[in-house]
Symmetry: C2
Subunit: 306 residues, 2 copies
């Protein structure tokens, strides 16, 4: 198999890949370097910017391997014009994120943090605890991609009535009882709403003022997708009414003042972005990262995004 | 429809039933009393003892309505010998308890309490968080009654490989991919073990010393069923090895010293018994309680336990 001469690693460090993975990568190249060199023919990147200037500084570059799904940091068009292949890692954390959605919902419904606290005080009376079930509730999914679909299947396991809205209809999912609805109707009638659209110009502000106001009383909205998709001032106004719950896990991508604003509401529950951190997701990610490189070197690149 | 002359309520108070339910009950009897009267022909009971002495003190008694599933507090045989019909409320909280099992598992897997704490400190780095998925793991269920079966179906929604052991084989469940195994093999090979047997002489100590020692490394055991089924000294020894996690929610039924002993282990997570508290379960319970009375008065009793 062909090999690279020099791999330049940017945006991450040795710790982001397991030793065995580095061993494999070293066999696929003459050298792996972490400091800029002009003669690298392969570039690794994670969340760092790969712009015209960086691409121009590497005239021998043939391949960019992304250790991530999102490609927003890369100038894909310019890379293509220079005949550089860019590959990403789609769907490595599908299950990890899908299970996370139910962890967040159930923690809220069952008030587990409070429950643990009362138990630690040896109060086992259960006084004051009540909840509602997922069974027979309407579970609305916005964006039926890989994650949205798995969330739908798990919700069906719980016996929820599952509906979705997505840019494109999904006949296979519909055959399995996942019902298509207009987004306006979905938002207005669901007991649970889970956002699984990618952040693009089309989905920005998809939960706008009108839709946020139309949410059902006692609705639980989960957003593990990205807060650019939500009108934050409108959300804050609705949260102040105390008749919905909003759960999110990407505060790191929000303006600090917005995070602080939302966290003041007891009905807004904020987590760090740890939906994708399962051991299985980490293994998937590394194995796809390496096979992307191998496939490119064999002349049969996969997961090409440009 | 026939009516009772006097209903004597023991073991619970007015607050345990909604006002509308009391209204219905009042229509089914001449009088509802909370203090012992010798001429009651109907007795309500919850977790309180109904023994020979109590039964003998009520010579006109025809019916005992239990506001609970468990019948261990009632002298069923003696009631039968006096031609008293005893009815219970089976399965009212099936879904509430089944969903609870996954709340407990996911809270543990995702360390949600810690995650919330770091978020409150505005630490959104996610550093140190890792987890494992339910997908493709072996999920072993001991006791495939109503709750065990629903736990199995939800686990299948998560993509787990589900096996069960139960006193009787369940052909319908097996057709749906829920695999039968010997209890010894189930305990030894499952990543998740969930106990759903009723506490009887047969199930007492069902998780005995040998089985507890055979649990797989990193196994997560959930017991929302009753700690009489677990050998507590053996469990404590195994917990000390720090290679399994045990989650329970009925410390109120255990000796205080045992609860304190187990709670000292960070890998033993203790909750109050609040699995059954959903609004839906409460509604089911009350509606079955009333229809039990109505059916008895119509001469077609259901949910008879003696």
């Amino acid at each position: 198999m062909a090999r690279f001469n020099k791999i330049l690693v940017t945006g991450f460090s040795e710790q982001n890949l397991d030793n065995e993975v580095w061993d494999k990568i070293k066999k696929l190249s003459g050298k792996v370097v972490f400091e800029p060199v002009p003669d690298a023919d392969c570039l690794f990147s994670r969340f760092n910017k790969v712009d015209k200037a960086l691409i121009d500084s590497l005239p021998r570059l043939k391949y960019i391997g992304l250790l991530a799904t999102g490609t927003g940091t890369i100038d894909l068009k310019y890379a293509k014009s220079k005949k550089i292949t860019v590959c990403n890692i789609p769907g490595y954390a599908t299950e990890s994120v899908s299970e996370w959605v139910f962890a967040l919902i159930l923690e809220h419904l069952r008030r587990l943090e409070d429950a643990k606290k009362t138990a630690r005080k040896s109060d086992f009376s259960g006084d004051g605890f009540t909840t509602s079930e997922i069974l027979d509730k309407k579970f609305g999914i916005i964006g039926l991609g890989r994650i949205g679909y798995r969330v739908a299947k798990i919700a069906q396991g719980f016996g929820a009535k599952v509906s979705y809205w997505s840019r494109n209809r999904k006949p296979r999912a519909e055959k399995e009882g996942i019902k298509y609805e207009s987004i306006d109707n979905l938002v207005k009638t669901s007991d649970f709403v889970s956002l699984h659209t990618l952040t693009t110009k089309d989905t920005e502000n998809i939960l706008d003022n009108k839709r946020i106001n139309s949410l059902k009383k006692d609705a639980v909205v989960v957003n593990v997708s990205g807060m650019e998709q939500v009108n934050i001032p409108a959300l804050a106004k609705r949260l102040a009414k105390k008749d919905i719950t909003f759960i999110l896990d990407h505060p790191d991508e929000m303006a600090k003042k917005d995070v602080e604003k939302l966290m003041r509401f007891s009905n807004c529950i904020v987590y760090p972005p740890i939906g994708f951190v399962s051991a299985e997701a980490r293994a998937n990610k590394q194995s796809i990262f390496v096979s992307n490189i191998e496939n490119f070197l064999k002349g049969k690149p996969r997961n090409v995004v440009n």
